[in-house]
Each structure stands twice: as C-alpha cells, then as structure tokens.
C-alpha cells in the first residue's frame, strides 16, 4: 500500500449521498416524461395515516394503507405482476393528491381518476366494478354485490373479492356492509371503514 492508492481509495468515503439523491430525483422526473416508467408511485399523509399510491399510464392501480400497509411488499408485488420498472415519482400524483385531500375534507363526493384494473380478474373484477358505482354516502351489501356480479348466492365470495380490493378508498369497498346490517369486514382495519363511512355521513 502506498500514498497513491490510499488517496484513490479515500474517494470511496466521499460524501456524495445528498447530491446523488438530488440527481436521482431529477432523473425520476425525466424518466416519467420518457414513457419508460410502467408503475409510478408515491406516499402521502392522509387522515387514515401514511398511504402508498401507485399508477400505470392507464390509471390508478394500487392504494395501500392501514393494515393493508406494507409498502415494500406492495412494490415487490407490482414489480412481479406488472413490470419491474417501478419508480417513485411524487410529481406524477399532484392531481391524485388534491382529489384525495378534497375527499377527506368532505369537499369531493366522487373521483375523476382513471383506474387500471389489471391487478384484478374474473369475479373479483366484476364485483369491484359494481362497487365503484355505489354513490357517496350510500351503502350496499355483499349479497347485492354478488347478485350484481351474476352470482346471487355468492355473498361470501363477494366479501373475499372486496377484501382483495387493490384500490381501496377510490373503489369504495367500505360502502359494502353485511346484509343483516352489521359493518362486515375491512382488510385495512375496521376502524378505517367506520372513519370513511362517518366522513361520508353514511353512519
């Protein structure tokens, strides 16, 4: 070991992290404009806690929060099922963020956000598409959703489909209750279902 190699090796300890992080953020914006990002995501702080929101060029594809919240698992799942070109691009979500803010402020009763249904299929997709039509402030039942999806006896299956909703809040699975009048379940945690229904004046 001599002075020269020591000097060269010192470069490994150069503190480039802050600058590299800034350059990486501007790379993400450039990448988003290049059309090569297949899944963009961001996180935002909402009254239900920290929320992960992901979208493809076709529309919103995933929302995770509450007990649904495991950002790493959600992102790995998106990489495996849609494309590994998954990138954090906060600026991509300005419109989504303001719609969600308005919703939680009680100033918005429907979302104007396109949806990418590609994480759903078959009966689940049918149930969720009917669920998406339940108006703000109103509720329906597992039995009705099953019937609407063409399976009048499939209340339990409809419950499972709603539990697998990849886009909660925007696809309002919280508006579906037990036929007997009970709240039913909620994958994200029942307290959030209550919170959303109270916000909408349905409880």
């Amino acid at each position: 070991m001599n002075d020269l190699t020591t000097m060269l090796k010192q470069a490994r300890r150069s503190d480039v992290a802050e600058h590299a992080s800034a350059v990486a953020s501007s790379f993400s914006d450039t990448a988003a404009g290049s059309g090569m990002v297949d899944v963009a995501y961001t996180t935002m702080e909402l009254p239900v806690g920290e929320v992960l929101v992901a979208a493809t060029p076709r529309g919103l594809v995933r929302i995770a929060y509450g007990d649904f919240w495991d950002a790493e698992e959600a992102l790995n799942d998106l990489a495996a099922r849609i494309s590994p070109r998954v990138l954090e691009v906060p600026s991509y979500f300005d419109g989504v963020r303001s719609e969600l803010d308005e919703y939680f402020a009680g100033k918005r009763t429907s979302f104007d956000l396109p949806i990418d249904w590609s994480l759903t299929g078959g009966f689940t997709r049918k149930v969720l598409k009917h669920t998406a039509k339940i108006p703000y402030g109103e509720v329906s039942t597992y039995r009705d959703m099953a019937a609407a999806a063409g399976s009048p006896r499939g209340a339990r299956a409809a419950g499972n489909a709603l539990g697998a909703n990849p886009i909660p809040i925007v696809v309002p699975c919280h508006r579906v209750l037990h036929s007997g009048g009970g709240l039913g379940g909620y994958g994200g945690g029942l307290e959030y279902k209550k919170l959303l229904l109270e916000l909408e004046g349905a409880l």
Binding site: L4, A11, A17, H19, V23, S26, F27, S34, L78, P84
Partner: protein, 156 residues
C-alpha cells in the same frame, strides 16, 4: 413470491451513490449529472429484459463506464469545454488533492476507467474485465500502467 427483479426504485436507491461517485471521479463535476441521467435512463430501458439474479452493481457500472467513455469522446470532438455550471454544486471527492483527480482525468480512457474501478469501486480484476469487456489480464495491465503514469504526473 418468486425471485424476480426488485422494483427499479430499490435498484436506483442501492446503486446511485456508487454510480455518482464513479462518474464524478471519471468525468468531473460538470458532466457527472448528465452522465448519471444517461446511465439510469439506459438502465431503465433495458431493465425488464435483465435476468433475475443478475449482478446489478456490475451491470450498472458497465453502463456508467460506457457513458463516461461517450462523454470523454464527445469532449474530444468539441475543442471548447462546455461553458456551463452544473445545476447544483457538486460535492468534492475525498483525497485532498484536486491535482490527483485532474491527473486521473487526463489518463487514456481505458487506464482511467480501470484504475477507478479498481480503487474507487473496489472491483476485483475479473470484475473489471467484465465491466470493461476485456480480459482480466488486460484489466490488470491497464491499472498497472495507470498507476505508473499517476506516480510520474502526481509527484507530491
């Protein structure tokens, strides 16, 4: 869950410091930002076709290596250096003596790349060969030759 590729964001988070440090040492502060963008855009383009379990660090350093060579080549075609400041002030490389980094950037491209891969990126000679698409022996020769020149040029 299979062993697919990690989300690109994880890949970027994990390697961005190494790539930036290498580019800063290789092309200098004015061009490092652009080379960084070019490197990760090329990586993003090719990413879905990568085999899972690939050596991602070696792969992205290979791309950065090519982008640095491109930058050196286009600088040679353009007699005046680009008269513009980077958007943000670039960090300083450790190593106390800016003259040393100047001498590194004056090395012939292969020698410069080889010496940076060896001492800044801490790659083994076999890995340097893979990144530079040459034999392990050629990598060793390039590092050796670079060190000989640096000792001559940089006499402090």
């Amino acid at each position: 869950m299979g062993v697919g590729l990690p989300p690109f964001q994880s890949f970027l988070d994990e390697h961005r410091d190494d790539v930036y440090r290498f580019l800063l040492a290789s092309v200098g502060p004015v061009e490092a930002d652009d080379c960084f963008q070019d490197t990760f855009l090329a990586a993003l383009r090719a990413y879905p076709r990568l085999r899972p379990r690939s050596n991602l660090r070696g792969w992205v350093l290979t791309i950065a290596h090519r982008k640095a060579l491109d930058a050196h080549r286009s600088r040679r075609r353009r007699p005046q250096p680009r008269e513009r400041l980077p958007e943000r002030a670039a960090p300083e490389l450790n190593g106390t003596d800016p003259e040393l980094w100047h001498a590194v950037r004056e090395l012939p491209p292969k020698q410069r790349a080889a010496v940076l891969h060896r001492y800044v990126n801490d790659l083994a000679y076999a890995d340097i060969g893979r990144v530079m698409d040459c034999s392990e022996e050629a990598a060793r020769r390039n590092v050796h030759e670079a060190m000989r020149k640096l000792r001559e040029e940089w006499t402090q």
